[in-house]
């Protein structure tokens, strides 16, 4: 049976026991995708909403859950428009299904933005079909019927449950233009909905990748080479004699130790010695040299040019300059990398485990092993955090390759040391900012050069304050390193946001302006007469800034020093004010006020979690985290010396949301970029010390 993707289509194939409305969450640009109403006898059908004749509502959630709460948020939207009680909804994780889902991934804080209309349409369409079915049954006008809590109510007080109408509803045409609820009538959207996996989590159910067990499965750990090195030889003589050890095999400069249990593999691994070849392996001094060279090269990539920066800076009355630098850092999700693979002799492959991008895993494994994509099944597990690390499927490919070599189902597990030393880091970046002020303190020239190590374009050239400044030059230089990098929660902006917001604080001071008023003046300019192309909406910026100033009692708290920042990323706006006081001669951040405009808040509980979590993440990594390299080897290697923020190191946080009813935008990432800036600026206000590199030296 072939489903047309862009047109509505109905299937009434089998005997009736359930109403299934398949809707294509991710198809079509901003439009609702194909929908399929169908009746199924039993079992799983290619549909995402299922209502049984007993009235149970099952919503399949396609996107990988890494702690961002999407498995709760998506079904909330469907249930709201369907008009059922949340308690009657059961949510199930869908596995990879490329036939029905297009964007089954977690990344870029894009899920709700992309799916909002589709989710609403799915719920509203089904609701309308139930009304239609009831109206037919009662022989009344559908417009005289309404719905409440999973029932259709007729003009004479008739009442029929969705479940009882399911089989008739499934035979009706799918409406193309359903009517939506007015947001003032929302019962679930915007309220606090608890995570759908809470019960499993608090009772220790095996839901994560590392918990996967399959028949005949063996365990493996892998020794990886220093960055830039090749494996010359290895000696596993002792390891192979140890109890429980099945095999030791090498591929792609790696050595895999395969055994019956984790501890046996760990013990055996410790006895394996490896010899490597490698020249000019990278150390901290290499990286410093590359930063220095990148800062002076004539061959920078020009990302944005407005007016004439050089001429403007030459006639500036005052010039402010600063350089900021951040190291490579690890993602360090609490669940280290791991994946299960079973590459079978019949050509089929089963992959299972934590990945933010299951379809990429499927494609990459198909290419790697020269197998048919259609024969590669991917089961999604819940993930013990991701933060971008699991956008890279290197560990899933390792599992697949190893399984094909040893011809067994295998779970590859990274230890914490493997996870911290094994690559895919937030790239190290150095930024140089320059601002030219005229005699009145107005910024007339703005310059930024970013030099990144495997960072690609380390700038965001169209971001505010660009658009408010006449003369702008933004450049980047990418230095190629053998240290592997990838997106880390709020890629690039996780550090750029800090550097820029800290620099603008210096600009405000040099100009003798209040940092908030300075930004509001710029935004007024953007509104009336923007310079060049802008990608942000000045009014939304202005609103979060004003609310943050008001809610934080900006500069009205006696004995408290405050720092301000505001940043736009993933289509959302976050303004922050950090409060600092001096304790025993050292600055301490005591409170952060955050105002977020992410459009409609779908789940207030989840939204607060994302904002507070991102702020704590931002503070922790700004304060503590750093990896160094010596001859291609990263250190430190575990949490004893790679410090993560703890519960006794956090400020109180107020998370406010702008109530504007705009369609939702990103939230997993946007609260992080402004955090380093508000914190650094508050620390300066308290201690008069500017912080130019992460981790902060305070």
């Amino acid at each position: 049976m072939k489903n047309s993707r862009r047109s509505f289509l109905q299937q009434t194939a089998l005997a009736t026991s359930a109403f299934c409305l398949g809707f294509d969450w991710f198809k079509a640009e901003g439009k609702a995708g194909a929908m399929v109403a169908s009746t199924v006898e039993a079992g799983r059908f290619n549909a995402y909403l299922e209502i049984s004749s007993l009235g149970k509502v099952i919503i399949y959630s396609p996107n990988p859950e890494i702690g961002q709460g999407i498995k709760t948020a998506f079904p909330v939207v469907v249930a709201e428009e369907l008009d059922v009680d949340w308690k009657d909804v059961e949510v199930r994780q869908a596995n990879l299904d490329t036939k029905n889902f297009d964007r089954q991934l977690t990344g870029g804080s894009g899920a709700l933005k992309h799916s909002w209309d589709r989710l609403r349409k799915a719920g509203a369409t089904a609701r309308q079909m139930f009304i239609q079915a009831a109206a037919q049954t009662w022989k009344v006008d559908p417009s005289a019927c309404k719905t409440a809590s999973g029932f259709v109510i007729g003009p004479a007080g008739q009442k029929a449950s969705y479940g009882s109408l399911a089989s008739l509803a499934a035979t009706l045409p799918v409406p193309t233009e359903p009517t939506y609820k007015n947001r003032k009538d929302y019962k679930i959207i915007g309220k606090r909905t608890k995570g759908v996996d809470n019960a499993n989590v608090v009772t220790g159910k095996p839901v994560f990748g590392l918990d996967i067990e399959k028949p005949g499965m063996v365990i493996a750990q892998i020794i990886r080479p220093p960055f830039g090195a090749t494996l010359k030889s290895f000696d596993a003589t002792d390891a192979l004699k140890m109890p429980g050890i099945i095999d030791v095999v090498s591929f792609k400069n790696k050595v895999a130790i395969v055994g019956q249990s984790t501890w046996q593999v760990m013990q055996a691994r410790a006895t394996v010695s490896c010899k490597y070849d490698g020249q000019n392996l990278e150390s901290e001094s290499t990286h410093k040299k590359w930063f220095d060279e990148g800062m002076v090269t004539e061959n920078a990539q020009v990302n944005r040019k407005d007016g004439d920066f050089k001429a403007a800076i030459a006639k500036a009355a005052k010039v402010v300059e600063a350089t900021y630098e951040c190291p490579f850092i690890s993602h360090s999700p609490m669940e280290p990398m791991n994946f299960f693979a079973d590459v079978r002799s019949d050509g089929s492959v089963l992959l299972a485990g934590p990945t933010q991008v299951p379809q990429s895993a499927q494609k990459a494994v198909a290419t790697l092993l020269n197998r048919d994509e259609k024969k590669i099944e991917v089961e999604l597990s819940k993930m013990g955090g991701g933060f971008g690390r699991r956008l890279n499927n290197d560990y899933a490919l390792e599992a697949a390759e190893l399984s094909s070599l040893i011809k067994k189902p295998v779970k590859v597990m990274w230890t914490r040391e493997d996870d911290m030393m094994g690559g895919i880091y937030r790239p190290a970046v150095r930024y140089h900012f320059k601002a030219g002020l005229d005699a009145a303190g107005n910024m007339i020239a703005f310059y930024l050069r970013g030099v990144g190590l495997n960072a690609g374009n380390s700038t965001r050239q169209d971001n505010f304050p660009v658009g408010a400044i006449e003369n702008v030059l933004i450049e980047s230089v990418n230095q190629v390193s053998s240290v592997t990098t990838g997106p880390w929660r709020a890629p690039i902006t996780n550090f750029l946001g800090y550097a820029e917001q800290a620099f603008l604080d210096e600009v405000a001071e040099a100009a003798g302006k209040d940092p908030i008023q300075m930004r509001l003046d710029w935004l007024a300019r953007v509104k009336s007469n923007p310079v060049g192309k802008i990608t942000y909406e000045p009014d939304r910026f202005i609103e979060v800034i004003k609310q943050a100033a008001e809610k934080s009692n900006w500069k009205k708290k006696p004995g408290v020093s405050q720092g301000f920042s505001v940043y736009y990323s993933h289509l959302s706006y976050v303004a922050q004010v950090a409060d600092a006081v001096m304790v025993n001669g050292k600055p301490k951040i005591t409170h952060i006020t955050a105002v977020t405009d992410c459009g409609e808040v779908v789940n207030l509980s989840g939204a607060e979690n994302q904002v507070k979590g991102a702020i704590i993440d931002g503070i922790g990594h700004a304060m503590f985290a750093k990896l160094r390299f010596n001859e291609g080897v990263a250190s430190p290697s575990n949490f004893n010396s790679y410090r993560l923020i703890r519960g006794n190191e956090i400020p109180t946080i107020d998370a406010h949301f702008v109530d504007n009813g705009i369609a939702p935008t990103g939230l997993g990432e946007p609260a992080l970029p402004p955090t380093g800036g508000s914190v650094a600026n508050a620390i300066y206000a308290a201690s008069k010390k500017r912080l130019y590199r992460q981790p902060f030296d305070i």
Binding site: G195, V201, G620
Partner: protein, 165 residues
């Protein structure tokens, strides 16, 4: 030679390397996957279980050290998942990714046994040994407080019941 111990009120006998950390004995040999591996060096607390009632890091504790001991894991904290700490964790919607939470809950439940009416500072100190990468710390601290209140209410109502009886 096998090692006997009690896990979640059941007697078990394990015939494996006595140096195997309790964490891996639980996960690999007893299929109790609720106890998590986070760092392997007793820094993060994801592997926290109770040994003879005391919150203990199971990733560095050899099986030989728990011979004849009484071990409780997250799966055995309550029969129906209704321990006050579990209830509070759900009510306040603490988990984000959830991976560290079994360790957090076992730490919190042990902490509250010793200190049923903790102050805010005591809660913060008592819970700071456990890392949460998602940053759920505020809700963890609020949930410990709520759990102490739920437990106090439970105690009062059971005292009343027994007084009536």
């Amino acid at each position: 030679m096998s090692i006997q111990l009690t896990i979640n009120k059941k007697k078990v006998s394990l015939d494996i390397d006595p140096n195997t950390p309790l964490l891996w004995a639980l996960r690999d040999h007893l299929s109790l996957k609720g106890t998590k591996y986070g760092c392997g060096i007793a820094q993060c607390g994801a592997c926290t279980v109770w040994v003879n009632g005391e919150a203990t890091r199971s990733c560095v504790l050899p099986l030989s050290a728990v011979a004849n001991a009484d071990v409780t894991t997250i799966e055995g904290l309550s029969e129906k998942g209704d321990h006050p700490v579990q209830v509070a964790w759900d009510q306040l919607d603490v988990p984000q990714c959830g991976y560290c939470q079994a360790g957090q809950i076992m730490t919190a439940a042990s902490f509250l046994k010793k200190n049923p009416k903790p102050s805010k500072t005591e809660i913060i100190d008592g819970m700071s040994g456990n890392i949460c990468r998602c940053g759920t710390y505020h809700r963890i601290q609020e949930a410990v407080k709520l759990a102490s209140e739920i437990a106090a209410k439970k105690k009062t109502s059971s005292t009343k019941k027994s007084a009536k009886a």
